[in-house]
Amino acid sequence: MKQSSVVDLLLLLLAIAVLATPAFSDLVLSKVERRIDVTSQVARVTKTLKVLNSGSESVSEFTLTFPKFLGNNLAYLSVVHSEGKGKSKRPLANLSVREANAKGLPDSISVYSVSLPKALSKGETLTLEVVAAFTNVLQPFPEKITQGEIHLVMLQESAQYLSPYAVESQSLSIKLPNARIESYTKLENTKLQGSDLKYGPYKNLQPFSYSPIVVHFESKAAFAVAEKLVREIEVSHWGNVQVTEHYNVVHRGAQLKGEFSRLDFQARPNPRGASAFRHLLARLPPRAHSIYYRDDIGNISTSEMQSDSKKTELLIEPRFPLFGGWKTFFTIGYGLPLSDFLFASEGKRFVNISFGSPIIDLVTEKLIVQIVLPEGSKDISVTTPFTVKQSQEIKYSHLDIAGRPVVVLEKDNVVPDHNQHIQVYYKFSNINLLSEPLMLISGFFVLFITCIIYTRADFSISKSSPTYLAKLQWDEVLATLQEVQSIIQKCLAAHDKLEASLRDLSRTGDIQTCKAARKSTDSLLKDLSKDLKPLLGFLQSSPSASHISPKVEELVVKEKELQEKLMAKHTTVVEGYEKKSSGRDIENRIASQQQKIIALRQEIEDLLEFIDEI
């Protein structure tokens, strides 16, 4: 790695020498300020360019160049047209940037072309703010360290701004982490102020000026790189957005060589473990809930969460500290309230959600975002602030028939600057929401129906086998028994009515109604006994009921007896009333009958219970 970059550098210098001075166009950079921030693993370059058109023709294209070894690692580039100075500076427009073919430029230079907001005519000036983020440009050196050694990295840059245009004045400041600085290239006008390293200002530089510098310093930042990150965002119209993120994280700093001693790591974590990182901090959206953190082999219990109304912070600790070159894989998942992310516009719905990983200072080499829309979504379109690779898939989840449409977005080399919102537009009718509950309902319905059919239907193969016939007969006997029972119950109810009429009589003294009640009961009982006869006959004739029929007969006889007794009692009482005899007299007269009636009633109850238990 290191060697190849040195070769690159040489090639670049050679190329620049060959190019000599022919001007690229008539533009002149009157002032260039560059600030490089290397406090994290990403080298973030901010440039303020003041562009002046000194030629005669108006220019609408502006060319940005980087040395190839930087250009290859360019993760993020944005050019903003701004106005004003210092605090009053305000951005006007984001300008579109595209990778351009290098016409007549050597391979060792990457070229980007910026289209200006309006053509720059003669003598006009324009201020551009360029932000570029580079990954992998902080090279660990040495490449392998032991547990106790500090983590040193190296940055290669040019003290002079590489540009196809002439530069009138330029300066560079490098913000280093607040730690040891091993060495840096000393040129004229080089100053080290605290942790800021300053080169320049340099005046009147020719196009393609280049003066390489190397800074070697200690970095305490976590070189956490997700080799692959799959974010699955599942939108459910039942009120939840479920985010699941699968991380393949590796420590891209200097590799650990030799032993890992837990004793040293525990007893003297600094410096004996300074090159490792233990935590990652994920800043989740507010109101994130049901957060989990696990991996292939189960839940990881070492995580902490803090939340307030602005954000939810999840401090995740991998199972082991990550030293240089160590890897781990884990999954975090959380639910978000749908109302915060789903909006409607012009008859369409759209999900507005951030693209990158919520973990801060994490570089993702390959990011795959899968947005799973509800089953039945149509007319799907995506808008993103930068270019991504798009495709569509189908995912099957619980109770899906057609599957859910999945929008897959892929992007390589993602840095925190890419954490911008993307919008997925789609059409979805609310009726589709009901399909899953309906499916469940119909599933259970079918289950119950089959159960009912199974219990009702006759599945025996041989309809003439003796056991089958016996079973049929037995069923018939049971049915008859049930009928007998119900008739007896009706008789008993009639008896109760009779008794009730007697009670009414004692209350009102209305003999006529009482008699009428008796008459109706009498006829009812007669009808019932008529009904009972064929049933009894069947039971007697049926062979399989032979052990029951005596009991049933007994029951019927007892019932008859009870009937007679009751009638007798009734007659006695009514007669007593007609004769206007005293209540005590009547009671005395029916006392013996009453006792028998109670005894009979009890016996009938017993018999009924017995039959019930068959």
């Binding site: 030799g258 032993e259 890992f260 001693s261 837990r262 004793l263 007893a267 991996d295 292939d296 082999i297 189960g298 839940n299 990881i300 219990s301 070492t302 199972r319 082991f320 160590w326 890897k327 781990t328 894989f329 099957y396 989840s397 619980h398 109770l399 899906d400 028939i401 219990t455 037995w474 049971l478 119900s486 119950q489 008993l492 109810a493 109760d496 009515k497 008794e499 009730a500 005894a599 009633r601 009890q602 016996e603 109850e605 017993d606 219970e609 017995f610 019930d612 238990e613 068959i614």
Partner: protein, 739 residues
Amino acid sequence: MGGKTEPAKSESMATATTRSPDLINSSFFSFKSLKLKTKQQELLLRISILGLVYILAFIARLFSVLRYESMIHEFDPYFNYRTTLFLTEKGFYEFWNWFDSESWYPLGRIIGGTLYPGLMVTAALIYWALRFLRFFVHIREVCVLTAPFFASNTTLVAYFFGKEIWDTGAGLVAAVLIAICPGYISRSVAGSYDNEAVAIFALLLTFYLFVKAVNTGSLAWALGSAFGYFYMVSAWGGYVFIINLVPLYVLVLLITGRYSMRLYIAYNCMYILGMLLAMQIRFVGFQHVQSGEHMGAMGVFLLMQVFYFLDWVKYQLNDTKLFQTFLRITVTSAILVGGIALGVGTASGYISPWTGRFYSLLDPTYAKDHIPIIASVSEHQPTAWSSFMFDYHILLFLFPAGLYFCFKRLSDATIFIVMYGLTSLYFAGVMVRLILVATPAVCLISAIAVSATVKNLTSLLRTKQKVSQTGSTKGAGSSKASSKVTLDQSQPFQKNGAIALLVGVFYLLSRYAIHCTWVTSEAYSSPSIVLAARGAHGNRIIFDDYREAYYWLRQNTPTDAKIMSWWDYGYQITAMGNRTVIVDNNTWNNTHIATVGRAMSSYEDEAYDIMRSLDVNYVLVVFGGVTGYSSDDINKFLWMVRIGGGVFPVIKEPDYLVNGEFRVDKGASPKMLNCLMYKLCYYRFGELTTEYGKPPGYDRARGVEIGNKDIKLEHLEEAYTTSNWIVRIYRVKPPTNRL
């Protein structure tokens, strides 16, 4: 639910509610006609009780998920999980033909031919069925919940079994008892994805179907039991218990003169079909006709034919004298032929002799003397009284009471359950893990005791009420009549006594429920891969070191790295670490394990040669000296020495002992202080202060200061040690260049 297949003649349960005696109020007439009849009420009650028991059995086993997480427990389940994963990903044929090169390096293992596939196939079928029904669950969840699901099913089988041998009441009680019995829960909590999880279900099902077949003489039930047996064979090696208990039972029936056509049909069908089906399992193969353990079944089968033949001859010959002679000749010749066949078979090696495991079951001291690898497994130890009490609680004394009831109402079915109970209880005494096999029998027999007692007591109460009410002398049923006889000559306090006894029974049962819940939540729900302890302030501390180490292996070692560890951790390393191991929990090759044992107990340079010859890249040891975790490798070390010494006589146990005592402090033997295991466990431990007020290098698991604090490693280096030092991993350095 099973309620709908109820035959109509079932007796009502003792506790079923009777109808309200208040019939005078006629305004309730319409309501009453809608009211369910007693029988229907009873059916409803029974189904709802069974439903609740079904759910109870399931949720009682979810403690582990609540306390920890939805994860696979212990050691063997990790292998089962790994194979199930393979099965669901690659399909059945790939699984069946799987040669696993990740274990037993460099030998490898033919997985398809050396496992019981029942469990994995069951889980995969459930998984596929759920996917078919559009429930996209993870296979891990299916595996975790397989054991509780089958435990629930077992309660249903227990109900039907109880109904078959006694009555529905006993069935219900048996279902409840087995649902929460700790002896069963210990091996069927959520996550305990082991063969036993489905095997107990299969075992009980086979027994139930067989008893049903014997009771009815129906071919269909016998066929069912053959299939149950097949499932059992496919699921667990414990099927040997069935294939020996059933013939033994048949033999007992023959001897007690209970031979019948029903028995003939049931046994023949079950044995022949079951045997043929069992041969389809590759791991079992032709053992049914070739191994000594299965010969009993075959002998009984032949005896059965002789019996039938004699029966027929007796029917043909009217002359008893002639028959007596014929009987003598036939029996003698049959025994002679059988004996000769057995002798020739054994001598020629066609019939293999009994295996060590089988011997160690019959003779508890056998393993200790001959096969240290069997004796070294903690679950193969003889059972202590306390664990019986722990696992059975009140069942321990309900069991004899149930036996009394069984003997009082002796039938084919009760003879079976008595034999099952007694034999399995003996085996449970020999090996701790076999408590599991005895549990269903103990629950069933205890259920008979509970049900019969409660039934008698309640009928006593109910009859007395009736008598006092009506003064009638007529009984409603025969059982009531019989109890009335006792009532007539009763003491005045009988009713109160019955109430007191009932209260006592319910008190006992509630104590049982409390005990079971407590045991389940406290003792049997730990996954043993995650250790939990209470901190100084009563907070819960979790030691997740195993997974930390395995995950480190998985992520940060080359994919072809070979890991050497003691065999206990083999399955876990392959499943969670996804790396090749030298030995694992499938202890099929004693020599290989002994080689590892030898390496662990040799000096470092000798061990290095062994490790080089086995291509070992990493060595993993488990060490509890920092946390006080006592089941670590130092405490297991003597078994390594014994097993290693069993094959390689260079390793001698006395070298590691001082006056017959195993020590790690200054008084330890020099060989002990310098062997590989000691060095790997205590490397740089001498610099660590583990406990306040104790010198550095104080081993908390053994409570001593270690004897060798200045350990230098020459051929290995520390690669990773987990945060609580429980797992330590060392890298084997490549050989140094020769100068």
